[in-house]
């Protein structure tokens, strides 16, 4: 494939030459499927588009030619701008448009009637397009599909859904060619199989190693917490010394606190912005525009800037808090210095002393080029259920044909016909042992094909498409005329803890909570007061197996000359008052604190497995009458608390009993209910709560927990419960990793009884995400609380 002369001339005029992998992509233009692995800044997106530009240059192609899919809305707009430059510069007759949830209604209608040559979109917008009756016409001439940042999509159900959509597109336009683009892939063959059966891997020159180190500060990091406030002066120094700095945080709440404290110390008034997923669209747009215009010296951000937008001037990346996962760290480092063959510069800033050790482990891993990532299982069935429902929206379908199509999608290649039929049965009839809906089936067979019983249902089905499940959030607005300025969102659970007069942080400002009006939190500015902090839902990453093992190895050093003195002292103190966790052994500490009996178990099995351990442990404690009240899990430990002390932790940890408990009791816990809710929303069993509907029907909507309990009681083998179980075992439960840990440990359990929390236990007390235990202790406390309230009111 040759590039058109006009385009080559334009490149030459810019002083651009093609990279070898870009040339190679042109050479491979005819291949059915290619996975290109190229470093950030290596022009991999352009490499993906070059064959399309070559094929479209003569203006002969009518309608849609290339579909570009990115995990981020922001990326589609950015790619449109970047791609239009050469196309307009070379005066090529190619129409390029993007289509996301932000695209106007008129624009979207026009795109359906008259699609552009190149359409840039997200998996969710594509899912919606495919539900329209005119999808076959829209996609008839489609020749190429480019999936950008495919590794990021492959980590979640969004990727599984996208691969089902590609299978659909292949049916609508046979001979479609696929390209996957990625910079950070830990297992290229697995990702290639995900993209398609005949995928060939193309590996570009990875470029030089990054320049990465830990930020040295005069002040030591605190014992615990995630703010990294201590490092702010040193970070401001770095911002001053560089053109543009991205300051990454793991959670939105941490980013908010950090940004607030940063501005208190930003005496030079360096232009620094904040960007994260809970901020109002308008706020994010403003920050992005300022960044593109080169007006900002730094952005405090979260995963919302992990991927994507190419800001050439970023010359430093700072990661605040332990990176948890080497792949993500490498991705973030790649955000600096988007110039080919120039090393990226990055600094790690541990937020507390434990994270100093984690950062050290991560540095070792990056130097060793060891990426990590846990393999995902086969394509989940809740996504398939949604796909079947969405397919029926577009047109009646034949079950055999749809099954044949679905198994061409990488994640579903091993799907059995039985599983497919179960999903179809669920979508059509509910799949209940009690056949209650024969009259009101959702799908029914007409003339040999499955179709919607009530075509009007398509509207609701479209509203519920997608696999991203938001936590319930409320909008936050500054009080004022004309509705007030939107600031962003907070979780409903957080909002319900606010009383008028309370202050919290959002978008870097301290605001005062005034009222809750029509599902909107009304606030006024309240500068200069100590804020309570907004708790956002952001993802919590589990530390990878590789990093956990590296941390345990570091603990075994006789002393720690490679760690800052404060952290070395802290570890020495832990070794002194208790002991340090060892590979192959399990350290358990028990101690009283604030009138509750605590137990810490240092399993280093990752957040999810430690969480499961918490569930199983508290169940055993309940059985033994220890009246547990709750637990919290981190990547390295589980902390439980209750009314009675645990004197013999080993007796709580018998593997056979734990496995038995898991099987028989798995059902009743909060993690399963949370998983069920997500599964049920994706599969179309419950509708997403839309702000408006929730407002009007408060008494009508009820908790998904009720559905879960009812199903367990009356139809325990129901498909939704099977999917919930599978997903929980792999994801939130992660029993495999827990079981491996317990097997390795055997009876090598070290129980240390203490008078107070040990140095290593302290950070656990500040963890979010405490899980309550519903047991005897809870009723004891509820009765106490009610009695106290009655006494306070003078009624008892």
């Amino acid at each position: 494939m040759e590039l058109p002369a006009a385009l080559l001339d334009w490149f030459a005029a810019q002083g651009w030459g093609l990279h070898p992998h870009q040339v190679a992509m042109l050479g491979r233009a005819d291949q059915p499927s290619t996975l290109l692995i190229a470093p950030t800044g290596g022009g991999k997106t352009l490499a993906g588009f070059l064959p399309s530009l070559a094929e479209l240059a003569d203006g002969a192609h009518k309608g849609l030619h290339t579909l570009y899919i990115s995990p981020l809305k922001a990326l589609t707009a950015d790619i449109r701008r970047n791609l239009r430059r050469p196309v307009e510069g070379a005066n090529l007759p190619i129409r390029i448009e993007d289509r996301t949830g932000d695209t106007t209604y008129t624009q979207r209608r026009r795109q359906r009637a008259d699609p552009p040559h190149i359409l840039l979109t997200t998996p969710e917008s594509l899912a919606l397009l495919l539900t329209y009756e005119d999808a076959p016409r829209i996609f008839a001439g489609l020749s190429r599909v480019i999936v950008d940042e495919i590794h990021a999509l492959a980590e979640s159900k969004r990727g599984d859904q996208l691969m089902l959509q590609l299978a659909r597109l292949e049916t609508l336009s046979p001979g479609l060619r696929r390209v996957g683009l990625s910079a950070t892939v830990e297992d290229p063959p697995a990702l290639a199989a995900f993209l398609g059966a005949d995928t060939v891997i193309m590996q570009a020159d990875p470029g030089p190693d990054p320049d990465i180190s830990m930020l040295v500060t005069p002040a030591p990091p605190p014992w615990s917490g995630g703010g990294a406030g201590y490092a702010i002066p040193a970070i401001l120094d770095q911002v001053r010394q560089h053109k543009t700095t991205l300051i990454f945080h793991n959670t939105r709440a941490q980013a908010e606190i950090f940004f607030y404290n940063l501005w208190l110390l930003n005496t030079d008034d360096l232009p620094i912005g904040i960007h994260h997923g809970s901020l109002a669209r308008e706020q994010r747009d403003r920050v992005e525009a300022a960044m593109v215009a080169g007006q900002l010296r730094a952005i405090v951000c979260t995963g919302s800037l992990d991927l994507g937008i190419d800001w050439g001037d970023v010359d430093l990346v700072i990661q605040v808090g332990a990176p948890k996962n080497v792949k993500r760290l490498v991705q973030r480092i790649g955000r600096a210095n988007h110039r080919y063959n120039a090393p990226s510069k990055a600094l790690l800033v541990p937020a507390n002393r434990f994270e100093v050790v984690e950062c050290q482990a991560a540095l070792q891993a990056v130097v060793a080029h060891q990426l990590d990532g846990e393999p995902r299982g086969p394509g989940p069935l809740d996504v398939l259920c949604q796909h079947i429902l969405a397919t029926a929206c577009a047109a009646p379908f034949d079950a055999d044909a749809l099954y044949a199509e679905v198994i061409t999608a990488g994640p579903y290649a091993g799907l059995s016909r039985q599983n497919f039929d179960d999903c179809l049965e669920f979508v059509a009839t509910g799949g209940y042992a009690l056949r209650a809906y024969d009259k009101w089936q959702r799908l029914m067979i007409r003339a040999g094909k499955w179709s919607l019983r009530d075509p009007r249902a398509a509207v609701v089905i479209r509203q519920n498409l997608g696999t991203i499940i938001d936590t319930e959030t409320l909008k936050v607005r500054l009080k004022g005329r004309s509705g007030g300025t939107p600031l962003g969102e907070v979780e409903e659970a957080f909002a319900s803890t606010l009383t008028p007069g309370d202050t919290f942080l959002i978008g870097g400002q301290v605001v005062r909570y005034d009222a809750l009006r029509e599902m909107t939190v009304e606030v006024t500015r309240q500068p200069g007061r100590d804020p309570r902090v907004a708790v956002y839902g952001g993802t919590k990453f589990a530390t990878s197996t590789q990093l956990s093992e590296r941390i345990l190895q570091i603990f075994q050093q006789p002393d720690w000359p490679n760690l800052p003195y404060h952290t070395a002292e802290w570890l020495a103190l832990q070794r002194d008052v208790s002991r340090l966790p060892q590979p192959g052994r399990l350290l358990v500490e028990t101690f009283p604190y604030e009138r509750r009996e605590h137990l810490v178990l240092y399993g280093f099995a990752g957040r999810n497995a430690q969480q499961t351990l918490g569930l199983l442990l508290t169940k055993r404690m309940e059985d033994q009458g220890l009246a547990p009240l709750g637990f919290v899990a981190t990547d390295y430990a589980t902390l439980t608390w209750g009314l009675e002390p645990a004197c013999d932790p080993a007796a709580l940890l018998d593997r056979t009993t734990l496995r038995h408990d898991l099987e028989t009791w798995l059902g009743g816990n909060a993690v399963m209910k949370r998983t069920f809710r997500n599964v049920a929303i994706v599969a179309g069993l419950i509708e997403r709560s839309h702000q408006g509907r929730r407002k009007s029907g408060r008494q009508a909507t009820f908790s998904s927990d009720i559905l879960y309990d009812t199903l367990r009681k009356y139809d325990p083998d129901h498909l939704m419960l099977q999917i919930t179980r599978d997903e929980a075992m792999r994801g939130l439960i992660d029993f495999g990793r827990l079981d491996t840990m317990l097997e390795r440990i055997g009876d090598r359990i070290d129980h240390i009884q203490l008078e107070r929390p040990s140095p290593l236990a302290v950070p656990l007390f500040l963890e979010m995400g405490r899980v309550p235990v519903e047991g005897a202790a809870r009723e004891r406390l509820a009765a106490d609380a009610a009695a106290q309230l009655m006494r306070d009111a003078g009624l008892a």
Partner: protein
Amino acid sequence: MVLSSLQRSGKAAAMYRFTLASADLIALASGALFWPAEKLLVVSDLHFGKSERLARRGGALLPPFETRDTLQRLDDDLESTGARRVICLGDSFDDLHAADAMEAGDQLWLTRLIAGRDWVWIEGNHDAGPFALGGSHLADMQLGPLAFRHIASGDTPEISGHYHPKLRLAGRARRCFLLDATRVIMPAYGSYTGGLWTYDAALTNLMQPQALAVAIGKTALALPMPRTMPQL
């Protein structure tokens, strides 16, 4: 005799006794109200057939077990209290069609419960109108000093439902009764029902300042009615 059997079960906190207009009443942890002197059991907002109604409208096919789940709890309460009269305070069915569409086995079960009892269906906003089941159908009714109706009015003393009140106690959401010197607002009894926080203006305007809430669930716990959004 009825109450002693409840008390003998050892669940001292499974009920809350109170007096309204000199009638001695008992709020049960199940969400039913019992008036021993009249051997009367009152339940509200059963919402039978909710899943069927949603399915009929082309929506999701929810687990169709809520009717039998609700029936089972009602059966248990009738058994343990020995009630001879029953008042269902409205929204017994999610709509009138749901009453006709009730599955045969469930209908039989309900008919068996009605048989031999003085059974009254009060009309609610979901089920205004007659349906083909035993018992009498009334807009509201008076028994001794107490009025029974679906939605609270100014005409007290009265027992009503409709609002599905709920509250948060020791961090957990629970359905609840609301009571003051003039009225009782009952919790929803149906399995597939949500709730309205007690601090909602609709409820704080209705209830006197010294109103109590009785949280239900495993136990029935009385506390002052929460009138503001709870803090952690």
